[in-house]
């Protein structure tokens, strides 16, 4: 028997198959474009209404807020492309008892449930997010150096890792406890909290979003990096949080699998 595929090869295979398959349904491109545009529009409207009334929101200018919105949309796009489809599959598996199949494969179960689906149309959000960030940068008239851009990119990667860990942890914990269809809605609601910079939130909310569900590091920090509001050592903190989040999600996954017993006995 030849060696089974490593994780990277498997991931690429899944992405390739999923993408090729999805490309047949071109209507979805337009549907997604519409939805993404609407989403972005409501975000911009909110910002406009705020800055209609004031010049500074807790020390943030409109351009800086735009950067936060951009990162929010970007990371949101990552979520909707790579994470959310897999979470829905996982939820369905738990409800229909087909998670059993995943557990009898000779591949790490967390790997399988994390890479098997992809929604390529949501990459539109990623593109839009990048666009908004670019707009924000010119609006602030910041002049990011190559180092700043690299730091920004790394911060985004950390953000991606963090939100993945959050979503996976939430779904795993909810395996048996809750009707987990609602969980996705709740997570989306929580994610909305990242639309605004966490520094304007009251302490209890800011604390929760930094320590418990570290959205602050996923969204606010990259935005601050690109808008040059903070120093580089925050990047180190972000990296630390990313690794911690991934480790925690791994532990929770293993615990969840141990507790799992299928939908019917």
């Amino acid at each position: 028997m030849s060696r089974p595929a490593g994780p990277i090869h498997l991931a690429r295979l899944h992405f390739k198959l999923g993408t090729l398959n999805e490309l047949q349904y071109r209507v979805n491109f337009w549907v997604q474009l519409l939805n993404s545009a609407l989403n972005l529009a409501t975000g911009l409207i909110a910002i406009a209404v705020v800055y209609n009334q004031t010049d500074s929101l807790g020390g943030w200018t409109s351009g800086q807020l735009l950067a936060v919105l951009g990162v929010h949309v970007l990371i949101g796009g990552f979520l909707k492309t790579f994470v959310v489809p897999n979470m829905w599959s996982l939820i369905r598996d738990v409800q229909e008892g087909t998670l059993d199949y995943t557990l009898t494969r000779p591949v790490d179960s967390q790997l399988i449930v994390s890479i098997r689906q992809i929604n390529i149309w949501s990459l539109i959000d990623v593109a839009l997010g990048v666009g908004v960030v670019a707009w924000a940068v010119t609006d602030i008239q910041a002049d990011p150096s190559a180092g700043d851009l690299i730091a920004f990119f790394v911060a985004l990667l950390c953000g991606a890792a963090i939100v993945y860990a959050i979503w996976l942890t939430a779904v795993t914990i909810a395996f048996k406890a809750v009707d987990i269809g609602d969980l996705m809605q709740i997570l989306n609601g929580v994610y909305e909290a990242g639309r605004w910079p966490v520094t304007i939130y009251p302490l209890w909310l800011r604390g929760s979003l930094t320590v418990v569900i570290p959205l602050a590091f996923a969204i606010t920090v990259p935005a601050e990096i690109i808008s040059e509001r903070i120093e580089g050592w925050w990047l180190v903190a972000a990296l630390g949080v990313a690794f911690a989040a991934l480790a925690v999600s791994r532990l929770i996954w293993k615990w969840g699998i141990r507790n799992y017993s299928g939908a019917s006995a």
């Binding site: 028997m1 030849s2 060696r3 089974p4 595929a5 090869h9 498997l10 295979l13 899944h14 198959l17 999923g18 398959n21 999805e22 229909e96 008892g97 087909t98 059993d100 199949y101 557990l103 009898t104 494969r105 000779p106 591949v107 098997r116 141990r258 799992y260 017993s261 299928g262 019917s264 006995a265």
Partner: protein, 336 residues
Amino acid sequence: MANPLDIPVVVDALSKTFKVPVREAGLGQSVMSLFKREFRDVEAVKEIRFTLDTGEIVGFLGPNGAGKTTTIKMLTGLLFPTAGTARVLGHEPWRREKELLRRIALVMGQRNNLAWDLPAVDSFELNKAIYGIPEDVFQKRKGEYIEILDVADIATKPIRNLSLGERMKMEIVAALLHGPEVLFLDEPTIGLDVTMQRRLRQFILDYNAQNGATVLLTSHYMADVSAMVSRVVVIDHGSILYDGPLAGLSDRFSAHKTIRVEATDLPEDLGQLGRVLERNPARASIEVRREDVSTVAGHLLAVATVTDLAIEETPLEDVIDRVFTSESGGSDDTQN
């Protein structure tokens, strides 16, 4: 007696107990349950023991809730046992070691493993990567199976567009691509039409014959059982009631035989001879106790002009049915 290490499946004193929440009745209790939840223990599997030898096809029979699926889940590593041991190919299944997982396969009827949106061939490619199947072996097996099951034209359609029968064919192909040595089939033919059931059964039998794979099959369908298995393990309420050849099932559980007689002048009151199963002007089937067979047969031959007389075992379905409807199961029960 084979070397214990060579026996593919060994189960010893295996038990599984679940904690199930007590369901509230009525409005008041519903609100109380906001504060306090009660549980009760359900013993799904109680100290069962059996083994499977290489190449055996064993049928695992039992009513719903008997513990069949729980046992299979323990053997495939999906559940931890509460007590006892089990070994599959020398491994403890719940460790889910990769070496073991690459040598077994699980197929559950009406539950899909293959990706819903992708065509079957794509899922096959994924399996190839996951199980590390060499390219030439993969192509050969894939081609062979597709041809035998005659699924070439649907192999490129997304799974969601296939009928249940077509889907099950694909599932079985996918499950056998990596040449598993132990196959766990949980109600694989459920919901399929008769032709499809036969096709799949034959396919599995051929696979077993060619590869010497060990198969544990659960099913409700007697046709599955009689066509495929050499040995039956009957389980009910978590305990094994019978473990032996299929033919012995009637002997063990049925204290009756059926006499089929054809005659135009059968007496009216056949009910006195035994339980009348069927009654036409020219034909009758009577269920009688084993010990009474020769008496009743002799009587019929004496009082009627018999053109045909046959003495048959109680149909297996009825046997199984009775086993599961009696409390302890097994002994003679004279329900009328």
